[in-house]
Amino acid sequence: MKQTGKDILAGFQKKWQFLLWLEVVLYATGFSVLSWLLTLSWLVSILGFVMVFAVLLILRQPWKIDLLKVSHYIDSQSNQLEYSSGLLLQSTTELSGLAKLQQQKISKAIKAEIKNIQPRHQLKKALFSSIIMIGIGVLVFYSGVTKNLSFNQNTLPKEEQISFKPTDSLAVKIQPPVLNTQEVTIHYPAYTGLRARTTSNMNIEAVEGSRVNWKLSFEGEVDSVSLESMGKGRLLRKTKQGYTGGTVLESSGFYNFRFTDTKGATYTSDLFAIEVTKDKAPVIVLNDLKQFTAFNYNDKKNISFQTSITDDFGIDNAYIIATVSKGTGESVKFREEQLSFDQSITTGKKQVNLTKSLDLEDIAMEPGDELYFYVEARDLKRPLANVSRSETHFAVIKDTTDYGPGVDAGLGVDLMPDYFRSQRQLIIDTKKLISQRGQLSTEEFNSTSNDLGFDQKSLRLKYGQFMGDEAEGGMGSGGELSDDHDHEEDPLADYSHNHDGDNEHNLVEEEHDHDHDHDDTDEEKDPLAEYLHDHGDPESSTLFTDNLKAKLRQALNIMWDAELHLRLHEPEKSLPFQYEALELIQEIKNSARIYVHRIGFDPPPIKEEARLSGDVEEVSNYSKAEDLERTENFYFIKQSILRLEEFKGSNAEPKKSDRQLFEKAGNELADKAIAEPGRYLQTLQQLKRLKDEPQIDQQLMFEVQKGLLEALPKLTPEPMQKSSFNGKLNEFVLKELQRNE
């Protein structure tokens, strides 16, 4: 049949459509191959193919290529057809004469022309991009990146798979049962909030107290399966799905599986590590707080601090333990309180930031009291929670009146003059007066204040006498001081250690201690003379008095101010001065302390000839023998290293004794490895292979030796015998040397 113009167009249409379909298929294939290479999953690959195929199909729409489109396209591509290819589509009958003529002309022309026209397509581009996609895929596949991207969980990585080896080399001949599935499920303790995890990796890392379940199933009949751990074995239970067993993790260690097939041959697996991580105790950090804080009586006694507590699995509770100590020496009293933070704590949080503002007055602290406190936090661990505590911090309200013991307690005497205490009495009275303001009438108040002022004055005058100040009038109560004090008698005679009299000039206190009661018995006498240690040594005399003088003078000046405010009926204003005066007096007392410490113990001299000359009839020789023969550390490891060195380079087969040696070395290493199972696991496994496998390759020996050498601890210096050849020549030379000396 003659090919009509329409047929030609139809043929072109089909060709065009085919090319478009091909284009789409190329893209989709390229993408699906790429996705397979990346994921190694057929599912992803097919899905990718379908998706790309569908998307491109919609974009390209090959079915939309109809004859009309074809004719338009051909017209636009060719000059010869005079835009008349459309005529070919119409039946001859419908056309005018001219059109018929044209149709015939075109139908001839198109036959020649159609060969020059190619349908519009992007086949080259499609081919090129799909090749590029496949190329990328192959590159990535061989560079190993895919391993990380693998979505496929059905096959186990080789290193995770339990490999069983027959313990008896004969067993190889029988087809051994094959491990079908392996699974270990770790149930973390409830409080951790972690979900149970199932994995095929037999090396376990878990929190202490986790429960572990193993599940193994075999293809083929297996008689029994057991789990061996640290020398102990336990059988796994047989269930429908396979063999299961479980345990609660207490400590790190190793384990391996062993199974017996129906013919009685046993197989063991590699060693696997159990690494038990301990639940850590909460970590407490106290911010913005000094270890030691001191407050004056008039400060605002407020401690505020911020603490942040972190724990690995969640905090249960946190609080402050505060201890207040009152008093000193034997009369010290302690009071303990548990304080909560300003915020409440949500149980189970891994980190909390807490603040606390602590007013010392709220916990009834007074001057002289000390506060010790620390923060304690407990986590959620069960049955016993981990408790941790922060460092202890101190806060002290300085005691206004503390002057401590004057001398060492051993002396048993407070050497300070009695009336030094009256400053304290004055402060107490002044405070009492202030608290009674409002209750007392103004006159009464004023007169009491005035009285206190007078007391302050008389106190000042008494101190003034030490300074050589003139005694003013108004010391009407001078009579309280005894006139008839016996000078000769030392009131402290009973207390002082006067048995070594030549030391007396050092014991300064004795002199000025017993003076205080008769300092003004003799008016002409310089009252200070008693306090000066004038032994003709101007140096020692001035040193002490200057110090004392300056302090006393300062104290007197302050007393003036204190008295002034009392006399002006302003006890509040007077109080600070009184405190200051008291403090100075305290310091004066402390300066005396230095001298007290000079009292030392001089033991009587020992007669050398009397030493070791006692009666030793009853004393007998004593003899003891002890065998500390050191069990050499890592003896078998060292032996194994040497033995392996001998095997190297020779083709000798390990003997039975060697295998026993390797086993013992393995035991030694296992003891060491418990602390760090991961580190020595490989060497342990290899030692096990050395022990069990009939054929041993050189590489394995190298690796085991390396592992063992690394396991040996660092050396410490120790003496040992040197050896040398001692010839006649040596002897001769040494003798001659000695002779010529």
Partner: protein
């Protein structure tokens, strides 16, 4: 062609002469009988000539001649091509011998002059060039390890130091010391220097024979070359120590614990009061040491006493101690106040100088302060130091014939233990105890001449022994001949040719406990060290040689036998022709 005619086959002289006489007689008789008087004289002369030529053919007469063999150039490893080229240009007819390919050097004695280029011929081949005029041209400088030194038989627990020299290193490359299993223990990175002296060190943890290795690696860790470093790590031996103390001290308490815990045999005798003692025996049997005498002292390696217990020793005990020290090598450590140590008679051998410091930082223990007495040991002749601080000696000893008498001025070292500085404490006492203790006297020691032995090369060793006639056997129980030293009767030397690489053993027939292990290297090991050493020895050897050998040497050269054949033929021909005329 004059003076001395010699016969190369001189041993045949008399038999040949007898044969000659017989033949002459036979010929004379025959001529006499057959041809009568005619031409008899001529015929006798001809037969005499013929028989004599025969005799001379057998005897090979030779005359001394100057050597005129020409020049030989021997090229060896690392030779310089320029040197070879210019020598070839100068002496066109010279013969070139590649020593690297053919090791045989025989027949060179006739050469007029020999040039050796490169790192030289092996030391054991040098004798073949003796008495020949040789000029040696050291070749190109060897690149790589050229010197190496380390102790091949260290003790376990000690530190191994490998020292050496590397020439023309490539910057960035590393020299790595690896243990038997290939773990890197120490390394040195080269920088841009022509020569580098290096020291690598490591602790030796295990005893036995091991092959460590020294590898040169580039910056990315590729091994450029690797050489085996054989080590014979010796077992540690424990000591037997006696401690005498006038009264218990903390120092002794801690010291005895330290020593006893390491497995040493320690006996402590502490005076509790007059005439009463406390005896402690660690790791050893109880024994009576109430009185010291030579027999019970000789068992000990070290005696530690304080000044007061020394004073308390009786005269005979003191003599016994002195005798033990001088004769059998007992070590003695004196403890006590410096003042007290100076008036102990024979036991006071040190002089002390007063210093002010009461604390000391020892030279090899940085950062550790130890108490000391305010004295130092005067550095007299014979005083060997154990501990030094700057220039002052705080612990030292003197040789007393076989033994050593030591003293330490360190005090209260036990406090180091309380401060947690155990290692410093152990360090201090290890030094003292080890230095002073009696040396284990060996009956026999073996010392290789060179650090390394190679396969198929002579291995020379020296033996020192008090045995009268040591018989040394090799691995295969073959007896090796030994040569006794002329002056020192105790020194013997021997030579063997190891045929296999790896560890080999030498044994002594008389002492089955003795075994000397040595490692035989493959020929390709330690090339550069060997080349450098060879070059040095060649230089030395040929320098010596060339001086002696100025004049040309004459050596007997056989007269070409063709002349005797011709003479024989002519004479016999004459005899045959004569009757025909």
């Amino acid at each position: 062609m004059s003076d001395h005619l010699t016969f190369l086959n001189s041993s045949w002289f008399w038999p040949v002469l007898i044969c000659w006489l017989i033949l002459i007689l036979v010929f004379v008789w025959k001529e006499w009988k057959t041809s009568g008087r005619k031409h008899l004289i001529l015929k006798i002369f001809l037969s005499l000539l013929a028989v004599t030529s025969l005799a001379l053919l057998a005897l090979k007469p030779a005359v001394p001649k100057e050597i005129k063999e020409g020049r030989v150039i021997i090229i060896t490893e690392h030779y310089n091509q320029n040197q070879l080229d210019s020598l070839k240009k100068e002496y066109r007819k010279s013969k070139v011998l590649d020593y690297r390919k053919e090791k045989a050097l025989s027949g060179l004695t006739d050469s007029k002059e020999i040039f050796v280029l490169g790192s030289g011929v092996n030391v054991y081949d040098l004798w073949q060039l003796e008495n020949t005029p040789v000029t040696y041209f050291p070749g190109e400088e060897v690149t790589g390890l050229i010197k190496l030194n380390y102790k091949q038989d260290p003790q376990v627990g000690k530190r191994l130091h490998v020292r050496g020299r590397f020439s023309n290193p490539k910057p960035g490359n590393r020299l790595v010391l690896e243990d038997a299993a290939g773990t890197a223990l120490d390394s040195v990175v080269f920088d841009a220097e022509d020569h580098i002296n290096f020291e690598l060190s490591t602790d030796l943890k295990v005893s036995g024979n091991y092959v460590f290795s020294l590898s040169e690696k580039d910056s990315i860790g590729k091994v450029l070359n690797q050489n085996p470093l054989p080590l014979k790590v010796k077992e540690a031996k424990t000591l037997r120590i006696l401690i005498l103390n006038a009264y218990p001290t903390f120092e002794i308490k801690y010291l005895k614990n330290f020593l006893a815990e390491l497995g040493h045999e320690v006996i402590v005798k502490n005076r509790i009061t007059t005439g009463r003692f406390k005896f402690e025996f660690f790791n050893t049997e109880r024994q009576n040491i109430g009185r010291l005498n030579s027999s019970n002292l000789d068992d000990f390696d070290l005696l530690i006493l304080d000044s007061e217990s020394t004073k308390a020793l009786s005269r005979s005990e003191q003599n016994a101690v002195q005798k033990s020290m001088r004769a059998s090598g007992l070590g003695i450590l004196m403890l006590g106040e410096a003042n007290a140590l100076t008036n102990l008679g024979d036991f006071s051998v040190f002089e002390f100088q007063r210093v002010s410091a009461t604390e000391v930082v020892l030279d090899d223990l940085d950062g550790v302060t130890v108490g000391r007495q305010p004295f130092q040991i005067k550095n007299d002749f014979g005083v060997e130091d154990i501990h030094r601080s700057n220039s002052s000696i705080v612990s030292g000893y003197q040789r007393m014939e076989q033994g050593r008498l030591g003293v330490t001025l360190l005090e209260n070292t036990w406090e180091l233990q309380l401060e947690g500085k155990q290692e410093a404490y152990q360090h201090i006492w290890t030094d003292i105890v080890e230095q002073l203790s009696k040396r284990n006297s060996e009956m026999l020691t073996c010392q290789p001449e060179k650090l390394f032995a190679f396969k198929d090369e002579p291995f020379t060793f020296q033996i020192r022994t008090s045995l009268d006639d040591p018989r040394v056997l090799d691995q295969n129980h073959r007896l090796l001949p030994l040569k006794q030293d002329l002056t020192l009767a105790e020194v013997w030397s021997g030579k063997t040719f190891p045929k296999e690489s790896g560890w080999q053993k030498l044994r002594v027939e008389q002492d089955s406990t003795f075994a000397f292990d040595y490692f035989v290297h493959n020929p390709e090991d330690w090339q550069t060290v060997k080349a450098y050493q060879n070059s040095l020895e060649n230089q030395e050897f040929f320098q010596k040689e060339s001086v002696i050998d100025k004049d040309f040497k004459k050596s007997p050269i056989a007269i070409n036998p063709i002349w005797f054949y011709v003479l024989f033929l002519l004479a016999i021909g004459g005899l045959w022709l004569e009757p025909k005329l």
